[in-house]
Symmetry: C2
Subunit: 154 residues, 2 copies
């Protein structure tokens, strides 16, 4: 099976997508991350959901999560408003910490996709066409469905 | 909302679970990882699906995934048989590279769960009871459903 057949739809946003919209997409579509594209539609990076939390939650609470229990509902809600009027661009960490997006071309074999995921410790690869536009993405669990099918006697 | 209410069922295996069974679980249940427990049921680590691929795929193919295209179907299938008669324990990297499992207690608040995920860059936390048994796990996309609900006018 080739990458073009394995690819599924994956949420894609641009650098100037509203940050709250991006966060809602991950919840609604139950995805742990989004592909972020440049204005020309080429993939720029992955925005992992955990990065959104790193943006919202004060450093000292990240250092000692038990402190979060002293936040009441009002104060928690206030934290979430930090996303208002922000863009995806503003959520991204500085370049060196940014997650590189693993990519393959549509003719990559199953084993090639697996090798890219293994190399980059990545649970997802984007499938790009000849113009570097995102055709979709292959998640590692989809790849495992194909590589390790349920036994027929299951 | 508290961790006990957010927790969902998550695939759990033990160190001596058959490696192929573990790989099939990830495909069938579309999960990018499994919680690995010790014999006493306490969580030991997370087995990310990418680690299974790192075990199977030869180092030189990981270094240059394009080489995978020269593998024919028979040779690809041979790689997958590397999982036969192996246990989950044998797939795990040496301790220092192993993913620590982020955990919370059942009374952790939504914000505390978020802080643990932010701190550990983790898309999942395990919820443990008083005896350190796994009650379930909270994925970051489930957390986002609660933190960033769809607007009522959507």
């Amino acid at each position: 099976m080739l990458a073009r057949e394995l690819a599924e739809e994956f949420p894609v946003v641009s650098l100037d997508t509203d940050a709250l919209t991006a966060a809602r997409m991950m919840g609604e579509r139950r995805h742990p991350g989004l592909i972020v594209c440049d204005d020309d539609g080429r993939p720029h990076t992955v925005l992992p959901a955990s990065q959104v939390l790193r943006f919202i939650i004060p450093r000292y609470v990240q250092d000692d999560p038990a402190l979060a229990r002293v936040y009441d509902e009002h104060k928690s809600d206030q934290l979430l408003t930090k996303l208002s009027h922000k863009t995806v661009q503003e959520l991204l960490p500085k370049r060196q910490d940014r997650d590189e997006l693993p990519v393959v071309d549509p003719d990559a074999t199953t084993l090639e996709v697996a090798a890219v995921m293994a190399r980059m410790h990545s649970p997802v690869v984007a499938v790009l066409d000849n113009d570097d536009q995102v055709l979709g993405a292959i998640t590692i669990s989809r790849l495992f469905e194909v590589l390790f099918p349920a036994r027929s006697d299951d």
